[in-house]
């Protein structure tokens, strides 16, 4: 794990941003903390993640009550972050009677 240089880049970048790594849950998943805790999931450029895997990560974030952050790491180690969440829409109040 420590030999994965792209993962190392993500951890380093987060530490530079003031995060503390609380717990490593899997090769590419860990909990980081800065004010509040976040569930991080690392995605490497070019490596596809199945929808079911993505949903499992989101579910884990919901279970842990932590925002899920995808750490997108380019093939040469630049990191970009996105929040991901499951959207559950309720009926639109503006057109409650519409067809």
């Amino acid at each position: 794990m420590a030999s994965d240089v792209l993962l190392e880049q993500v951890l380093r970048d987060l530490r530079l941003r003031g995060f503390r790594i609380v717990e490593q849950l899997a090769d590419n998943m860990f909990i980081g903390e800065k004010k509040e805790k976040y569930l991080f999931y690392v995605m490497v450029e070019g490596v596809e993640v199945s929808i079911s895997t993505m949903l499992k990560v989101i579910n884990m974030g919901e279970t842990l009550s932590m925002p899920v952050v995808l750490a997108l790491v380019s093939n040469d180690g630049t990191v970009t972050y996105y929040f991901v969440r499951r959207i559950r829409l309720t009926r639109n109040v503006y057109y409650a009677e519409a067809i």
Binding site: V44, G46, I51, T53, Y82, N92, Y95
Partner: protein, 183 residues
Amino acid sequence: MKGVLRGLAVVVEDVESGRELYRRGFYGRFLGYDKVKREEVDKVDAPLILALYEALYLAEKGVLTVVDENGVEIPPQQLVELGRARIKNFDDIYKIYKYFRDLGYVVKSGLKFGALFSVYEKGPGIDHAPMVVVFLEPDKGISATDITRGGRLGHSVKKTFTLATVLKPAGEVALLGFTWARL
């Protein structure tokens, strides 16, 4: 109400019918006009063009009768077959269209955003930013590039976008929302 299927879209020639459909939930687009406001509908004197998804939805709801150019009725099932023959992933995309419409959202083309649909709570020209919905093919995974590409759709959407897919085998529509995070 009646609409004539011409290619992959349906034209409602009767202006009063067109106005009513547009008022009901911004269905269609008036030929030659864009983003007509609700209070301007009565001033528009033009046929309404419905996308195939819209026409199918309204036909299934019994609101619209679609006919061919000879006036022969085209049942919804025949519109589905046309869609399947011409449009990739038609069934899944229609399911997503129906999902939003059944919940009362206004669904318009996403083409100008580089997306599948733009979805509004109140309507085009009223909402400041639509929900930009990108289609994810059910059997395809998600890549980092898919996410950053989505984040670059349109400048007004604040790097927030939605991926929509249909989960197999349940056939359930799932929406994933992505927002750029400044950590």
